[in-house]
Amino acid sequence: MKVALFVPCYVDQFYPQVGMSTVAVLEHFGVQVEFPEAQTCCGQPMANSGCMPEARPLAHKFIDVFDGYDYVVAPSGSCVSMVRHHYEEFFEHGDVRSARVRRNTMELSEFLTKVLGVKTIFGSFPHRVGIHQSCHGLRELRLSSSSEVMTGRDDLLKDLLSQLEGISFSKLSRNDECCGFGGTFAVAEEAVSCMMGDDRIADHKAAGTTVLTAGDMSCLMHLDGLIRRQKLNIRVMHFAEILSEAIC
């Protein structure tokens, strides 16, 4: 199985330890990943700003870089949903290469559970963990069930973390409200963005969260920015970091 790792550009630059943890977790489960050096960004910042002509070359670059792998794994639900759900318009109808890459691009927790079939993890993490449901993982990739929809109640991330010894989870009053990051929204609508972030953090504080985690560093970058400014005692970790720290 040839597996490539996609590390979102801002993770590459600012959160290298998240990428390294992803590698560690994948290797722990027997997957030797490759990291194609030419990769940069999936193009989401441009696409979400409405700038489709500017997003297009990045979509093409992504497909060029990652064609030829059985799977592309990324520690980000948001980037994966960009590739899987929003690349269509950048390619000709029926384009085989892009369709293949899009289909094979997976978020980390999805890859671990659905492809590798990971059910048990040996490790311990004796902390009270608050899971932040990143919207794109939740409502685009359906990695867990959103509170609006009246179907089953899956939660891939929680299922994985529940395997760890000593871990407990915060019970939030609003299970899956958005953190307010939203890409350029975070700056363009700064007031609402920060209020949303504050509200999420208050919910976690009230629930006793000591470690705040998610499947997307972008949400966590925003929440961590508020947490550090307010000097709160909450540790922010991508779930790959938790897994790699816990697996002993």
Binding site: V7, V11, Q13, F14, Y15, P16, Q17, G19, M20, V23, A24, E27, H28, F29, G30, F35, A38, T40, G43, P45, M46, S49, G50, C51, E54, A55, L58, K61, C135, H136, R139, E140, E148, V149, M150, E177, C178, G180, G182, G183, F185, A186, V187, A188, E189, E190, A191, V192, C194, M195, M196, G197, D199, G225, R228, A240, E241, S244, E245, I247
Partner: protein, 483 residues
């Protein structure tokens, strides 16, 4: 003003913004409980969406069918292409009957057409009889929500408003007392009215009748006394069959306010004896939305307001920050479809969280339409120049790996060495309330390359540890755990 500016104003009164957020979240939670009580909820949404899509695809046919059947029941049907046409038609009917005083139940369409000022300018009195609408009318404001028009007003403020206009005791804010005062005030208006205007929730093609849903019974009261009833509806309000109501009435009340059914679902199938019943069918841009593949589905909307209640931005910025008749997610599509210049900031007043899409009872893919609308705004050159330029620049950098590496290095180094006041300057929208990430000494790709190089040299010496599925990989976890 743009949405960000108005939103900032609203949030600057944090207590109020928090109260507003909680009030609407309360409604959203009620909706969740109600929806949970219906095992076939998701199936109902599927049905509703399919019925609406079908109806919209055959709209001319169903409109004609409706007109024919309505006429057979003695309903007088009018067609209005624009808001002006609508207002003129309504005015002419009223004028013909020598109407001076009108009572009107809630109708977003008449808000959209600005019917009230049109009639008032021509010497008629129009009284909105929905309690919330009456409150905003007395305060000379626009509704801030399509189902809960006065959700932004606290009960103390209602007390002040009623003290001024209805003569209630000063400082009184007991909801029961205030509601009673409003009832008495409205009773009087109902009795004196010469005509009643209502909206339409659902019109039924096969019967030629229509349904109006209210919780206060004000539509029924408003059209039971006067001899003239005018019902105004957008052409998208049509359903093919009476049995379709079984799907929509169940979804509407639960989604809107978390009630199992609206208190009054009144069916109108022709005029009372000696009275006249008119229906005005309004296009006002709907047929051009129908022709747009990207936004067509927005016409499925049954105006339940659930997307507003769930929207984390709407809850914290208030309905007036949208400056539209219909605010929130659906309004951020409907308004810029018609007037992109005026409403170009609305599709961006959204984090693309997708909660609206999941809550919508007719399964409108709201957040995908909002994303598509952003592309339309860009294609029409309506993006702020600074935004477009920076996106061009970033795209150029990200398209070239070497340039990306260089610029990334530059960003990290300058973030590391620049003094705090330079980084957290007033222009840094990120940094006003948030810290930036702490720049690491190396990028992921550098760390990864180093690690692989290290491993290669180890391999050439002794056998390297091979990680097997389910086995422990010391090296891996140690490297990863340096958070």
């Amino acid at each position: 003003m743009s949405h960000p500016a108005l939103a900032q104003q609203f949030t600057s009164d944090r207590t109020r913004a928090e109260w507003h957020d909680r009030s609407l979240w309360f409604v959203r939670e009620k909706r969740d409980r109600m929806a949970h009580g219906v095992p076939e909820w998701e199936l109902l949404r599927e049905h509703a969406s399919a019925i609406k899509l079908h109806t919209m695809s055959q709209l001319p046919h169903y409109l004609e069918q409706f007109e024919k059947n309505a006429a057979a029941r003695g309903i007088i049907v009018h067609w209005a292409e624009t808001a002006d046409d609508h207002n003129r038609i309504v005015y002419e009917i009223l004028q013909r009957h020598g109407v001076r005083r009108v009572v009107k139940s809630k109708s977003m369409l008449t808000e959209e057409c600005h019917l009230n000022p049109f009639l008032e300018k021509r010497g008629m009195e129009v009284v909105d009889t929905d309690l919330g609408e009456r409150i905003v009318q007395l305060r000379q404001e626009a509704p801030s929500h399509i189902v809960l028009p006065a959700i932004h007003i606290r009960k103390e403020e209602v007390g002040e408003c009623f003290h001024e206009h209805l003569g209630t005791e000063k400082g009184a804010s007991d909801p029961n007392y205030l509601t009673e005062a409003a009832r008495n005030h409205l009773r009087e208006r109902f009795c004196k009215a010469d005509a009643g205007i209502t909206g339409v929730n659902f019109a039924i093609a096969e019967t030629g009748g229509f349904v109006v849903c209210t919780n206060e019974g004000n539509a029924d009261l408003g059209v039971s006394l006067p001899k003239l009833h005018i019902a105004c509806m957008g052409i998208e309000k049509l359903l093919p069959r009476a049995s379709d109501l079984a799907v929509f009435l169940r979804l509407l009340a639960r989604s809107a306010t978390g009630q199992p059914i609206t208190t009054y679902s009144s069916h109108f199938h022709g005029p009372r004896e000696g009275c006249e019943l008119h229906v005005v069918l309004v296009d006002n841009g709907r047929s051009s939305i129908l022709q747009s593949p990207d936004f067509r589905r927005s016409l499925n909307c049954i105006r339940c307001g659930a997307c507003m209640n769930t929207c984390p931005v709407y809850r914290r910025s208030g309905g007036h920050s949208y400056e539209t008749t219909v605010p929130g997610p659906i309004g951020s599509i409907l308004a810029p479809v018609r007037e992109p210049e005026k409403h170009s900031s609305l599709p961006f007043a959204c984090t693309l969280c997708g909660s609206c899409t999941d809550v919508c009872p007719v399964k409108i893919d709201l957040h995908h339409q909002l994303l598509a609308m952003r592309g339309h705004i860009d294609a029409k050159h309506l993006l702020p120049v600074s935004k477009k330029l920076s996106m061009k620049l970033v795209s150029a950098v990200l398209s070239r790996t070497w340039l990306y590496n260089t610029m990334g290095w530059l960003a990290r180094v300058s973030l590391k060495w620049a003094p705090r006041f330079a980084v957290y300057n007033p222009l840094n929208g990120w940094g006003r309330q948030r810290e930036l990430p702490i720049p690491p000494s190396a990028t992921f790709r550098q760390m990864f390359a180093q690690r692989r190089a290290g491993r290669k040299s180890a391999e050439s010496g002794a056998a390297a540890p091979v990680a097997r599925e389910g086995s422990k990989s010391r090296e891996g976890s140690q490297t990863g755990g340096q958070a």
